[in-house]
Amino acid sequence: MSQTIPLSQPSSNPRKIPSVVFFEHVGELVAQYGADPLLKQLNELYSKYKFMEAQLQRSKQVLRAKLPDITNALEMVEYLQSTQEEVKVDFQLSDCVWTKAEIPQTPSVALWLGANVMLEYPHEEAIDLLRKNLGNAESALESTNEDLKFLKEQITTCEVNLSRVYNYTVISRQGK
């Protein structure tokens, strides 16, 4: 018979990631649930946490790459708004070819929003949008980092639980 062993509990994490219950009395738990079911469910929980950690690492990299791009776009729009004359730029035509272009005074810029969508915005609105995106990306990065720290603690607790249960079974087998 398999029962769900209480291995995790709700935590104070803002993203509602459950925290791992630390096994105070390994002997009692082994007696109550059996060593094998304990180890099996602990291992499952452990791999779930590891999987989540890998996911967060990936999204952290994506966010890290996006941040400089948004910052640069914001600076450019602010510069375009402030300048009164034509701007001459070197821009990348393709991977290894650059060329010069001149940008006349325009009231609006075009922002690529992703998914084949590009919208034209007047300078002010573009700056607002970019600032908002920058803020979102920064706070997403912060919460991802926070979650990663939290996950590391849970993974360590899980590992400790696993080794304690395993050692207990080894010792009790030797005792027999």
């Binding site: 035509l93 070819v97 060329t99 940008i103 075009a110």
Partner: protein
């Protein structure tokens, strides 16, 4: 290398080595092909440039309407961080030369890959023979 004289364990080590080499070479081949595609795209872009109004990319997500100042003047990256000003014709020739060089290398690598694959087949054949001999000698 005298393949016939090696026993099955040594042969399987040789096979693993060959597998790794083939994988490495195939990766290089894919990278070269990727680079060739990029130069091809550059050439097409060069040909389509004229004085019309375009959307100039200032960053990956920011575009502004503008005009190319001189449709005959381009800067080409000839090495990491080294840029040279060239005319349209010169830039196109540069891209063609680079593409040809890369395609030559691609040919060389694909020859090497085929050679290694043939060697690999040989090794596997000899392994199979050895195992059969071994099993036959057991009966």
């Amino acid at each position: 290398m005298e393949l016939e004289s090696l026993n099955p364990q040594q042969l399987s080590i040789v096979k693993e080595q060959l597998d790794e080499e083939v994988e490495g070479l195939t990766n290089s081949f894919a990278n070269l092909r990727h680079a060739v595609t990029k130069y091809k795209a550059s050439k097409i872009a060069l040909e389509n440039i004229d004085q019309r109004e375009i959307l100039v990319p200032l960053t990956a997500s920011l575009y502004v309407p503008g005009r190319i100042i001189n449709p005959n003047q381009f800067m080409v990256e000839i090495g990491t961080g080294y840029y040279v000003e060239k005319t349209r014709v010169q830039s196109s020739e540069f891209c063609t030369r680079k593409m040809n060089m890369l395609m030559e290398n691609m040919d060389k690598i694909s020859k090497m890959i085929n050679q290694k694959k043939r060697y690999l087949d040989l090794v596997q054949e000899i392994m199979r023979k050895k195992i059969q001999e071994f099993q036959a000698s057991q009966h």
